[in-house]
C-alpha cells in the first residue's frame, strides 16, 4: 500500500473542526512553507503527495522541484473559484472563462468540436489544458475533484468521466477520480473501459472505521473494496477527518488492503508516526 500526503491542511480544509482548519491555513501561508513540508514528508518515507490546482498548488508544481522517485497526485479543478464565478456572473461565465484561458490551438481544435456538437465532454481537454501546470512531470496522476465527478454521476454523464480517463492517458499522465459515491461510480464504469486504461486508474473515496462521510454506507464500500475491481483503490478521510482514534483507524485501514491511502496533517511528527504504523 502506497501512502500519499494529502493537502487539506495547506488550504484550511478540516471537515471536523473549522477553527483548526483556519489555523493551519494561516500556518501554511506561503508556498515555501508548503514546499518544505512536502519535501520533509517525502524524505521521511511518504510515497508521494496530492495537491489541488488552486493558485498555490499550481505555483508549487510549476516552480518547485521534488524528488523524481516520488509520485505527484494533482487534483483539478479548484471548485470554489468556479462556484464564485457562477455566483457573480451566472453559468455562461464558466464557458467564457474556459475559452479565454486555454491555448489558441486547443480553442480551435477542441473548441470547434464543442461548438459544433455542444457535447460537454469536449470541455475536458480545454479544462486540462487550463488547469495542468506545464512543469507537471509526465506519469503523474491527475484527478478530477469529487464535486465534478459526483455532479456528472447525478447528471447521468459517466461518459464524460470516461473521456477524462482517456484524455489524461493520451497526454502521458495517469488518471484519478475522486468521488463520494464510489459504489455508483463502479456501476457506471463497469464494462465501459479497456483493461489497459483501468490498470492505471485510481478511484479515491472516503473510507474510515466510523463510517463518517462514507456513502452510501460503510458496508457497501467495504463490499466494493472486497470485490477487487480492476482499477486501483485509494482511501481518503481515513481518520474520519480527525474524529477517530488513529491507531485503531490504521488497524482497520490496513485490513482493507487498499492500493493507496492519502492523509493530511500539519505536523511532521504525525506524518512519521502514521507512516510507521501504516507500513508496519
Amino acid at each position: 500500500m502506497k501512502i500519499i500526503l494529502g493537502d487539506n491542511q495547506f488550504f484550511g480544509v478540516n471537515h471536523f473542526d473549522l477553527e483548526k482548519g483556519q489555523q493551519t491555513k494561516l500556518y501554511f501561508n506561503d508556498v515555501d512553507k508548503i514546499k518544505n513540508f512536502i519535501n520533509d514528508s517525502l524524505s521521511v518515507g511518504m510515497d508521494g503527495f496530492m495537491i489541488n490546482s488552486n493558485e498555490k498548488g499550481y505555483e508549487i508544481i510549476d516552480k518547485c522541484n521534488f524528488n523524481n522517485d516520488k509520485e505527484i497526485h494533482y487534483s483539478i479543478p479548484y471548485p470554489h473559484k468556479y462556484a464564485n464565478m457562477i455566483n457573480e456572473n451566472g453559468m455562461m461565465s464558466l464557458f467564457k472563462y474556459i475559452y479565454k484561458n486555454t491555448s489558441m490551438i486547443n480553442n480551435i481544435t477542441v473548441g470547434s468540436k464543442l461548438l459544433f456538437s455542444r457535447n460537454l465532454k469536449h470541455l475536458v481537454p480545454l479544462a486540462l489544458d487550463m488547469e495542468i501546470p506545464k512543469k507537471l512531470k509526465k506519469g503523474s496522476y491527475i484527478y478530477i475533484q469529487n464535486i465534478i465527478t459526483d455532479l456528472l454521476i447525478g447528471m447521468g454523464r459517466a461518459d464524460i468521466l470516461i473521456h477524462f480517463i482517456q484524455t489524461v492517458t493520451k497526454m502521458g499522465y495517469k488518471p484519478g477520480i475522486i468521488t463520494l459515491n464510489p459504489v455508483m461510480l463502479d456501476r457506471l464504469l463497469k464494462n465501459k473501459l479497456k483493461e489497459s486504461l483501468l490498470k492505471e486508474l485510481i478511484i479515491c473515496f472516503n473510507v474510515n472505521k466510523e463510517g463518517f462521510n462514507v456513502f452510501p454506507y460503510l458496508n457497501k464500500v467495504e463490499e466494493l473494496i472486497k470485490s477487487k475491481p480492476n482499477y486501483k483503490l485509494m482511501g481518503m478521510s481515513i481518520f474520519a477527518s480527525g474524529a477517530s482514534n488513529i491507531p485503531s483507524s490504521i488497524q482497520y485501514i490496513k485490513k482493507l488492503k487498499l492500493d493507496y491511502v492519502v492523509f493530511g496533517t500539519s505536523k511532521i511528527e504525525n506524518v512519521t508516526s502514521n507512516l510507521q504504523r501504516l507500513k508496519a
Partner: protein, 315 residues
C-alpha cells in the same frame, strides 16, 4: 413521476443531479430562458427543455422554482393554476419585499437547506425553545470577490437575502418565534451595490435576545461558514456550526462536544453535502422538516424590517 424545474442555474442543476441520482426513473422538464445555455444543456441532459412555460398545460407531480427571486411569485401562480401537486421554491421566497401571501395551495416548500444539517437537527431535538434566553446567528463567506452583474447586484440579492435568510430561518426554526422587533441594524456595501455586511439585533415577543452578523466579502474564509450561539435561561451555552456542537457551563467551561462524525448519517447519493440530499428526500416524502410558506414569509418580514431600519433607502 413528472418533475418541472424552472431555471437551470447552479441550484437547478444541483437539485436535478440529486433527484436524478436518487430516483433514476423520474422524467424532467426544464424551463431555461437563456437561449445559448439552453442549447448547450439540452444536448447534455436527459430532459425536455423549454424557453418558457406557455406550452406547459398539464399538472406536474413536483415543480422546483430555482430562478432569481424576482419571478418566484409569478411562477408559483403559474404552477398553482396548472394544478402542480407539490412545489419547491428556492430561498428566499420572492425576496425581502414579498411579505404578503394570498394564494391558497398546499404542499409548498421553501429551500432552507441548513435545517437538514445534522447539528441543527440535534439542536432542534435537544433544546427546548422556551428555555432559550438569547441566540446569535452568523454567516461568513467569500462569495463576492468582484462586483456581481445582473440581479445579484440588485434589490433581490445582498448578503441578507442570499445568506442571512438561511440563518434567520434557523433562528426562527430553533426558537419557534417569527415575530421580532429590530433594535439595531447596520448595513454596509463593500464590493457590490447592495448589502455585503449586515449586523443586527432584535427581540422576540417572548423577550429572547437575537443578534445576527452576515458577511459575504470576508476574504480569509475558504468555504461558507454558518454558526449559531444559544444561551439558555439556566446559563448553559451552545456553540453550533455545520461540523460540531459545543456545550459550555455557566462559567464558560466546555463540558461537551459533539461532532458531525458522532452524528454520522448516510445518504444514498452525495452531492454538496448531506443536507442537500436530505432536503430532496424530505421533499419527495412528506416535507416534515422543510420550511413552509408561512416560515418563509416570516423570514422575509424580518429581512424587510432589518433593511428598512433607520429609515433610509436601502439601495
Amino acid at each position: 413521476m413528472k418533475i418541472l424545474i424552472y431555471g437551470f442555474g447552479r441550484m437547478g442543476l444541483t437539485h436535478f443531479s440529486i433527484l436524478n441520482g436518487l430516483y433514476p426513473k423520474l422524467k424532467f422538464y426544464i424551463v431555461e430562458p437563456n437561449k445559448i445555455f439552453r442549447k448547450i444543456v439540452e444536448k447534455n441532459i436527459k430532459a425536455k427543455f423549454y424557453k418558457d412555460d406557455s406550452n406547459l398545460k398539464e399538472a406536474f407531480d413536483l415543480t422546483l422554482i430555482t430562478t432569481p427571486p424576482s419571478i418566484h411569485l409569478m411562477l408559483l401562480k403559474n404552477s398553482i393554476n396548472r394544478g402542480d401537486k407539490k412545489i419547491f421554491i428556492e430561498k428566499p421566497f420572492g425576496g425581502h419585499t414579498n411579505i404578503n401571501y394570498d394564494l391558497s395551495a398546499n404542499k409548498i416548500y421553501i429551500g432552507y437547506v441548513l435545517r437538514f444539517n445534522p447539528c441543527i437537527q440535534w439542536v432542534k431535538k435537544h433544546i427546548n425553545p422556551e428555555e432559550i434566553n438569547s441566540i446569535h446567528g452568523q454567516y461568513l463567506s467569500n462569495t463576492i470577490e468582484k462586483k456581481p452583474s445582473g440581479w445579484r447586484n440588485g434589490p433581490f440579492s445582498g448578503v441578507l437575502n442570499e445568506m442571512g435568510s438561511h440563518v434567520i430561518d434557523l433562528i426562527q426554526y430553533i426558537t419557534e418565534a417569527n415575530e421580532m422587533d429590530v433594535t439595531s441594524s447596520i448595513k454596509e456595501s463593500v464590493v457590490s451595490d447592495v448589502d455585503d455586511i449586515v449586523d443586527a439585533t432584535l427581540k422576540t415577543k417572548n423577550g429572547v435576545s437575537v443578534s445576527m452578523y452576515f458577511n459575504w466579502v470576508k476574504k480569509d474564509v475558504r468555504k461558507p461558514i454558518f454558526s449559531i450561539e444559544i444561551e439558555k435561561k439556566d446559563g448553559l451555552k451552545y456553540f453550533v456550526d455545520q461540523q460540531q456542537i459545543k456545550e459550555y457551563d455557566k462559567n464558560g467551561v466546555l463540558i461537551n462536544r459533539l461532532s458531525v462524525a458522532d452524528l454520522a448519517e448516510a445518504v444514498p447519493y452525495y452531492l454538496r453535502g448531506i443536507d442537500f440530499t436530505k432536503q430532496m428526500t424530505d421533499l419527495m416524502d412528506e416535507g416534515s422538516i422543510m420550511a413552509n410558506i408561512n416560515d418563509a414569509i416570516g423570514v422575509n418580514m424580518l429581512m424587510n424590517k432589518i433593511l428598512s431600519y433607520e429609515n433610509y433607502p436601502r439601495r
